[in-house]
C-alpha cells in the first residue's frame, strides 16, 4: 500500500455577520484528470469528500469532454439546498495528482498518483463551485483517507 500525502488548501474568508473575525478554511483538494469514454480529457480541482456517496463533477466538464447528455444514463441526487439534481453518468478514467506538483512542473505530461476507472456523475449542481467531489463509491471505497487538519495534511493510502 502506498501513502500519498497532500497539503490542505487554506482559504481565508473575509468577515461576515456570523463570523465577524473572518474564517480560515482548509479544503482537501486534489488535481483530477477525467478521461471520458470518448477519450477526451480535462484537468480540474476536486475535493476528497467523505460526505459524498459517489464521485461527481460539474456538468460543464461533461460538455467540455464532448459527452452527449442525451445519450448518458441519468438519475437524481440531492445535496445541501436541493434534492433533485439530475446526474448524468459516464464511465471515466480518473487520475488523481497533486495540484502544486502540476503547476510547478515544467513537464507537459501529467504523472498521476492514483488511477481508477469509475462510474462518474456530472451535474449542474456542481457548476457553481466548479469542483468535483471524490466520495465513497468509486474512490473512498478503495483507499484509506486520513484527514489530519491539525497538521494541514491529508493522506490517501491505496
Amino acid at each position: 500500500m502506498a501513502r500519498h500525502t497532500f497539503a490542505y488548501r487554506v482559504i481565508t474568508v473575509p468577515p461576515s455577520p456570523p463570523f465577524p473575525n473572518g474564517q480560515t478554511l482548509a479544503r482537501a483538494h486534489v488535481l483530477t484528470q477525467l478521461t471520458g469514454s470518448n477519450g477526451n480529457s480535462i484537468k480540474a480541482v476536486s475535493c476528497v469528500d467523505s460526505g459524498a456517496d459517489g464521485c461527481a463533477f460539474p456538468m460543464s466538464f461533461a460538455l467540455a469532454l464532448k459527452l452527449d447528455p442525451l445519450k448518458m444514463e441519468r438519475n437524481t441526487a440531492g445535496g445541501v439546498g436541493n434534492s433533485s439534481n439530475i446526474v448524468y453518468y459516464d464511465k471515466i478514467k480518473l487520475e488523481v495528482g497533486n495540484i502544486d506538483d502540476f503547476l510547478a512542473s515544467s513537464m507537459t505530461t501529467f504523472v498521476p498518483l492514483i488511477v481508477k476507472d469509475i462510474h462518474a456523475g456530472f451535474t449542474t449542481g456542481l457548476d457553481a463551485s466548479g469542483i468535483g467531489l471524490l466520495g465513497h463509491t468509486g474512490f473512498l471505497d478503495s483507499c484509506i483517507a486520513t484527514f489530519d487538519q491539525r497538521n494541514l495534511q491529508f493522506h490517501l493510502d491505496i
Binding site: A44, P58, A64, L103, A104, L152, Q153
Partner: protein, 64 residues
C-alpha cells in the same frame, strides 16, 4: 511532509467572479464564462492541457 500549497486565489486575482479559468504553471492562459471556450482559447494560446478552475462567486462562499 507536504509543501505549502500554491495560493490559487493569487493566481485568479482580478478575474471576474464566476468565470472559468485555464491555468498552466502559475499563470492564467485563458478565462471566460464557458469551459469549452476557455479550453479552446487556452489551446489557441499554445496550452493544450491546462488546469481548469472556477473563480469563486464571492470570497465568503462556503461549501456545505
Amino acid at each position: 511532509m507536504a509543501a505549502s500549497p500554491i495560493n490559487l486565489s493569487d493566481v485568479l486575482e482580478g478575474l471576474p467572479a464566476g468565470a472559468w479559468a485555464a491555468i498552466y504553471k502559475h499563470a492564467v492562459v485563458a478565462y471566460g464564462a464557458d469551459v469549452q471556450q476557455v479550453l479552446a482559447q487556452a489551446r489557441a494560446n499554445g496550452v493544450d492541457d491546462p488546469l481548469i478552475v472556477k473563480v469563486p462567486e464571492s470570497p465568503e462562499m462556503l461549501f456545505l
